[in-house]
């Protein structure tokens, strides 16, 4: 890496990064195809309760996801907890969705709003921090 940087070398060109590249690829069975489902960083994911009977037992990483989304959690947070790239998590979420083990829900995202009531709610919430 040229010059000096505060960033740990492993994050850029170390074995850590290389290791990560191999592992997720194995996890998703060699598939690199992006998901059909429309998962965004803020899509809300929830494990179905109770889990459907029969079918294959979930793989360990799938089981981990199911534990993490026992309560609703967004994709970005799942990926962070799993320490896996979002794109990899999304492919696993597709499998789980297909298997009927999770529900996925588009975020009710409010953007670029001029709704004073909402902005006031955001402001009040921040004020309580």
């Amino acid at each position: 890496m040229p010059g000096s940087s505060a960033r740990p070398a492993s994050e850029v060109n170390g074995s850590d990064a290389a290791g990560r590249l191999v592992r997720p690829f194995t996890l998703i069975g060699g598939r690199t195809r992006p998901s059909r489902a429309d998962f965004t960083l803020l899509t809300l994911v929830t494990a179905v309760e109770p889990q459907p009977d029969g079918g294959k037992r979930p793989q360990p990483e799938h089981a981990r996801i199911l534990r993490l989304c026992a309560r609703p959690v967004v994709v970005a947070e799942l990926a962070a907890h799993l320490d896996l790239p979002v794109s990899v998590v999304v492919i696993m979420l597709c499998d789980l969705l297909e298997a009927g083990r999770i529900t996925a829900q588009a975020p009710r995202q409010i953007s670029r709003t001029t709704d004073m009531g909402l902005l006031q709610k955001v402001r009040d919430g921040l004020g309580r921090l």
Partner: protein, 201 residues
């Protein structure tokens, strides 16, 4: 209408709002997200195709097909029905192709500036100005030192008069909260100018 609301196991999903924390390399974005987030600073990584990499950055790793880039992620539950997500954008310029995706649906942005080298955040300011995304500037005084006042900084960055500039400390929860509130105030001022919104939710 209530029946058509999306629900998860019977609980209505909260509304979500998103704010970006941007700025140049090493200006304190991760620190800021960590200071206000209710969950420990989380980092989520994206595989990076060679297309997104500047050739210069690949010194010594030319044969690598991809690398990972970290994205800071934070959450603030504002109320039972409203959650704010913070995304710290990757600082290194070669990761900026990700910013477009992140910017979609954001309420606005905080551009952090390291007071000792403001030029490292010029490109971030440019990014939001070009896209007409509202932002405020947070001047991170490393070591708590603020040699310049907000007006001096606004002038030196050639920012429009209405762009709020706040002196802050990325390590302080209160300080970062105040920067976020300044952004909301900015949005409210703009909304009021547009004639506002007659109904309150």
């Amino acid at each position: 209408m209530a029946g058509s609301d999306p629900t998860v196991n019977g609980t209505p999903a909260p509304d979500t709002v998103k704010i970006l924390i941007a700025g140049g390399f090493g200006v304190g974005k991760t620190t800021m997200v960590g200071s206000v987030s209710e969950i420990v600073p989380l980092r989520t990584e994206e595989p990076l195709t060679a297309a997104g990499l500047g050739i210069d950055d690949l010194d010594g790793i030319e044969e690598k097909k991809a690398t990972t880039v970290a994205l800071d992620f934070g959450r603030i539950t504002l109320s039972q029905e409203l959650v704010l997500y913070l995304f710290g954008t990757p600082g290194q310029q070669r990761f900026w192709f990700m910013w477009n995706d992140l910017a979609i649906g954001a309420l606005g942005a905080v551009v952090l500036i390291d007071v000792r080298r403001p030029e490292s955040s010029f490109a971030a300011i440019d990014f939001f100005e070009r896209r007409d995304i509202p932002f405020v500037v947070g001047v991170n005084g490393f070591h708590g030192e603020h040699p310049y006042g907000p007006d001096e900084i606004r002038e030196s960055l050639a920012l429009p008069e209405h762009t709020p500039v706040l002196l802050c400390d990325a390590r302080s929860r209160e300080s970062c909260r105040d920067v976020l509130i300044a952004l909301i105030d900015r949005l409210m001022a703009a909304a009021a100018q547009d004639g506002g919104n007659a109904h309150t939710a």
